[in-house]
């Protein structure tokens, strides 16, 4: 057995390996192009295509949802897979027990493996149960008089943070939607989704779960996420059916600088906004709300 107090595992070996990688990367980077090199052909192609083929003034959008649409499609489902992985790993027995029979299967296994001890980490589960059975309702921190000490329970933060968060949330939410609806030009659902999930997390951090409970519910979020993913599949499949290419534009192009400019780019961006916004929110809140699962204690 190794020394329990040892924080580092073979630091000199790791330092040697990491130093070697750093030296290799540094040597390699001396050969990489500098900031005066001409743009690669693929970048020129995207810049040339953006205005005539898609009527959008933002080539980055043209690349995300046009030229590289198939890659974005794959990346979206990578995100989807990550969210599913978090949801499955973080799943507790309470809300979905008996869904596929884990709880009853685990009871048998638990009885077989260890008939005397209660399942799970005893101390942690006792603490969870104590939290659940705490009948005294948490008093909203907004009702406390100014000048009194900060909230004792870690549900809400101090009055400074609560007010700052309430102001910042409005700005962030508007900026997020504006990013997708307009920005330099319409598009940008990918970063806008991340901003909107940030709004939910900020509200949670400052005001507690009660502030976001009505919106951030598994039933609503999961339905929205699947709807976003289905919309992306449908948008791309319609390109295949109507125009013979999976990523082709099948929407009439509106004039440059209008909210509908970019054709199918805008639809893809909107669906991506829903997919990324809900996906990240599900992943973060599933992680925050993790409880013990049914597995026996080691």
């Amino acid at each position: 057995m190794t020394d329990r107090d040892e924080a580092l595992h073979r630091p000199w070996l790791a330092a040697g390996l990491a130093g070697g990688v750093a030296a290799l990367l540094a040597v390699a980077f001396f050969r990489v192009h500098r900031d005066d090199a001409p743009l690669p052909a693929v970048a020129h192609r995207a810049l040339d295509l953006a205005l005539p083929a898609w009527k959008t003034t933002e080539p980055v959008n043209e690349i995300v949802y046009g030229t590289r649409a198939f890659d974005t499609f794959g990346e979206t489902f990578l995100l989807f897979a990550a969210v599913v992985a978090v949801t499955v790993l973080a799943r507790g027995r309470e809300p979905r027990h008996e869904y596929v029979g884990e709880a009853s299967a685990a009871q048998d296994e638990q009885a077989r493996v260890d008939p005397k001890r209660p399942p799970g980490s005893v101390r942690a589960r006792a603490a969870e149960q104590a939290e659940e059975s705490d009948a005294s309702p948490v008093r909203p921190a907004d009702r406390a008089r100014l000048g009194t000490p900060g909230p004792e329970v870690a549900v809400e933060m101090t009055v400074v943070v609560r007010i700052a968060a309430r102001v910042a949330v409005v700005v962030l939410a508007v900026a997020g939607v504006y990013l997708a609806a307009w920005g330099y030009s319409p598009g940008g659902g990918f970063p806008a989704g991340a901003v909107l999930s940030g709004v939910a997390v900020l509200l949670y951090a400052a005001l507690g779960y009660g502030a976001v409970r009505r919106m951030v519910r598994p039933a609503l979020m999961e339905a929205l996420e699947v709807a976003g993913a289905m919309a992306i599949v449908l948008i791309e499949l319609l390109g295949l059916v109507l125009k013979g290419s999976f990523t082709a534009n099948w929407v009439p192009l509106a004039p440059v600088g209008t909210i509908r400019s970019g054709g199918v780019l805008q639809l893809f961006s909107g669906a991506e906004l829903v997919e990324v916004g809900t996906g990240l929110t599900i992943a973060i809140f599933a992680l925050l709300g993790m409880r013990h699962d049914w597995s026996p204690e080691q």
Partner: protein, 122 residues
């Protein structure tokens, strides 16, 4: 000087790698992976940068230029900016997966020390 950015990328990546290889705390290993991930964002935006260039937006051209003229002017590389954008969003989701695994491991083994995760050794 863009070379400074590249060297910072090498340093950040190696620091992250050092954390992953040497630390035994699962949370610190995830932090190391996040550091390695951030170094790739810096690399992508540094590769996209061009000296005295503008953002790749074909809007409001200066006097005497057209919007399509901007496309052939001195602009940053939009393809690499797109890579960076997607990498950030995917990175957040992957970090969430790592952390979920770390929390589950901590629940099962009552420890976040990677050295305690030995169930497969029999």
């Amino acid at each position: 000087m863009i070379l400074g950015n590249y060297l910072a990328v090498a340093a950040l990546f190696s620091l992250g790698l050092y954390a992953v290889l040497s630390r035994r705390n699962l949370i610190k290993i995830v932090m190391g992976l996040s550091l390695m991930e951030s170094s790739t964002y810096l690399l992508l935006v540094s590769l996209a940068y061009r000296r005295r260039s503008t953002a790749p937006v074909l809007l409001n051209p200066p006097k005497g230029q057209t919007e399509s003229g901007l496309a052939h002017g001195n602009v940053a590389d939009p393809v690499l900016q797109n890579f960076c954008l997607t990498a950030i969003v995917i990175g957040v989701a992957i970090t969430a997966v790592f952390l979920t695994v770390a929390v589950r491991a901590a629940q099962h083994y009552d420890s976040v020390d990677a050295d305690d995760l030995r169930a497969l050794r029999g």
